[in-house]
């Protein structure tokens, strides 16, 4: 239909690819922008550490949490972070199974993004516990109190879902890195570097039988990735939906949350793609065509999320219950109305720009839309968590609660932690999957 740009330069050979991608790791001096980014993110991580120290010393009272809004920013952030993780999994797994070629150059940092987003997501529920040092009570371990976890509690489901997801993502990331670690081992000149990558590569040597088993393992894991993504955010949405709180108790929550998760995830992949291709001069490997595809993926989930907004409102009206209807009136006009309208502006208004090809192909526009969409998705999680609980069935219960400075400091700190982990990752590990790209290069030769 259209004149598609190639996803990689015509003159790209196996040798040139290996040399370029491993140089990003093995070269001594990283670009200046990387160093600036590390300093900024490290300072924010420091804020995170200070915030956590204060939290552990003082307790959850430092957060803007109060009955009836008992969840506040920490749970808003959990849902938001876990959503960001999902696109990484979807890109690496589902696009692998459906043989989408454009995944090859972006799957690695999408997987890394997933990994570090889960770390941030998983920290929040633990921080939100009044006594975080007792988090292991969620585990069914033999104990002398004779107690078991309460299997009807969504908190227990969450724990199992997030733990499964963390283990899945770390294994999948490592599996994908394995052949590339061997490439780095064989290219490294310093003995310590060779030893580092050599130990991690486990003696990988590209044996044909190894590749066969490797591919089978990768495909098996990719096949369970989609159910895992749906289960994890589905279960998190059940934390809200199994309650009877108006504004939480909707049966559309699991698919609605999954679509929103993927929207914010693809938005984050777009941000990372734009930033990393600029930082490491990868414009020919992560092309405008890739941004275009990412924009289309965002658009799919924009449509689903927008549909879910209408259905949520319809269900509130159709329930005929005055409390449900009031939740909506309150979202539009109450104290948290700016969050609702901000969400509509970001997720319904601005995202429609993605219908235009020129917007999807512009790095700057994609960066801006990635940021506004993430903001919109964050506001969506915020308004769900805050507005639903602040005015429920009993007016005597109503209260308005706002996040405190510590809430914001820890949130900013977690962004810094995410950025720091990601920046360190792209310097220690190949940020483009060399073995996936090699197969693409070989495929191109076959077609042409």
């Amino acid at each position: 239909m259209s004149e598609r740009e190639p996803l990689m330069p015509d003159q790209l050979t196996h040798g040139w690819l290996t040399q370029r991608v491993s140089a990003l790791v093995l070269e001594r001096r990283p670009p200046r922008s990387w160093r600036v980014g590390v300093v900024v993110c490290a300072l924010l991580t420091l804020v995170f550490v200070i915030g956590l120290s204060h939290l552990f010393a003082t307790g959850v009272g430092i957060f803007g949490l109060n009955i009836p809004v008992a969840w506040g920013l920490p749970i808003t952030n959990t849902i938001w972070w876990i959503g960001i993780a999902h696109a990484g999994t979807l890109i690496s797994a589902v696009l692998l199974l459906t043989r989408q070629r454009w995944r090859a150059s972006i799957n690695r940092f999408a997987e890394a993004m997933a990994m570090f987003a889960i770390v941030c997501a998983g920290l929040y529920p633990v921080l939100h516990l009044g006594r975080p040092w007792f988090w292991y009570y969620l585990l069914p371990y033999p104990n002398d109190m004779g107690l078991w976890p309460q299997w009807r509690s969504p908190l227990v489901w969450d724990f199992f879902a997030i733990a499964t997801y963390l283990l899945f993502t770390s294994s999948f990331l490592y599996l994908s890195l394995l052949p590339d670690l061997a490439s780095l081992r064989d290219r490294a000149s310093a003995r310590a570097t060779r030893l580092f990558y050599g130990v991690l590569a486990l003696g990988w040597r590209g044996d044909a039988l190894h590749w066969a088993r490797y591919e089978r393992a990768t495909k098996t894991m990719a096949a369970v990735a989609a159910p895992i993504v749906v289960a994890v955010t589905g279960i998190i949405s059940l934390d809200l939906a199994v309650s009877i709180v108006p504004g939480f108790h909707f049966t559309i929550f699991p698919p609605y949350f999954v679509a929103g998760a993927l929207l914010s995830g693809f938005a984050t992949v777009a941000i990372l793609a734009v930033v990393l291709r600029w930082m490491f001069a990868l414009e020919d490997l992560v092309t405008r065509q890739h941004l275009d595809y990412l924009g289309r993926m965002m658009l799919i989930f924009v449509v689903i999320v927008n549909y879910a907004y209408t259905q949520e409102m319809f269900a509130a009206w159709y329930s005929g219950e005055v409390e449900y209807r009031y939740v909506y009136l309150d979202r539009w006009t109450g104290p948290y109305a700016p969050a609702w309208w901000g969400m509509i502006l970001c997720n319904v208004g601005l995202t429609q720009l993605l219908w235009f090809r020129r917007v999807r192909r512009s790095p700057l526009a994609m960066l801006a839309l990635g940021i506004t969409t993430n903001l919109g998705m964050w506001l969506e999680r915020f308004q769900i968590v805050f507005t639903s609980t602040h005015a429920d069935y009993m007016p005597s219960n109503w209260d308005t609660v706002w996040p405190t400075g510590w809430d914001w400091a820890i949130y900013a700190g977690s962004l810094g932690l995410f950025g720091l982990l990601l920046l360190l990752f792209v310097r220690l590990m190949p940020m483009i999957s060399m073995h996936d790209m090699r197969a693409q290069i070989a495929d191109r030769g076959r077609d042409g």
Partner: protein, 177 residues
């Protein structure tokens, strides 16, 4: 001089590698190892690799993990620690389904990755081919074939060289034992 472990030969591209493997297999060579920088379709099958076990084993582990998770929840909620929540039946399956599902998925993941490593005998930091300097290209753009000296047909060195060269390969080195 001690008998070498085998002979390492290099081929120009993936097509030549596949053709060479087929030719050597047809001639009755069995102790072949093949190395490539990315997976090549059909190569493992050409080497006689069949996978009958991995699917059923992964499925069994997944079902076992899910079953164990369900059994643990049922035992704890019905027998060991029954606890009334909203008057709901102790042993109903629905609240147990989510943890059961998650553990089934976890079983699949662990079985797949551990099975892959065990089947490939990894980690295995040492392999004789690593002694050949050119072999570093196997993780870059090199396609290699290793004919082990313990192949029943590998009588003398010239015969092996001849077979490899007839298959289009260029001898790189003798791999020390």
């Amino acid at each position: 001089m001690a008998k070498p472990m085998g002979w390492l030969a290099r081929l120009p591209d993936e097509g030549a590698l596949s053709a060479a493997v087929q030719q050597l297999r047809a001639q009755g060579w069995t102790r072949l190892q093949v190395f490539s920088p990315y997976p090549i379709e059909g190569l493992a099958e050409a080497l006689g690799h069949r996978s009958r076990w991995s699917g059923p084993v992964i499925l069994l582990v997944a079902l076992g993990a899910a079953g164990a998770a369900f059994a643990m929840q049922w035992y704890s909620a019905v027998i060991d620690y029954p606890f009334v929540v909203g008057g709901k039946p102790f042993g109903h399956w629905a609240p147990f389904a989510l943890v059961t599902f998650a553990m089934g998925l976890l079983g699949t993941v662990l079985a797949a990755i551990i099975g892959m490593l065990a089947g490939n005998h990894l980690p295995q930091p040492y392999h004789p081919a690593f002694n050949v300097p050119d072999f570093a290209d196997a993780s870059d753009d090199g396609f290699f074939l290793l004919l082990a000296a313990d192949d029943p047909q590998a009588g003398d060195e010239p015969a092996v060289h001849q077979a490899l060269e007839a298959a289009g390969a260029r001898i790189v080195a003798e791999v020390p034992a």
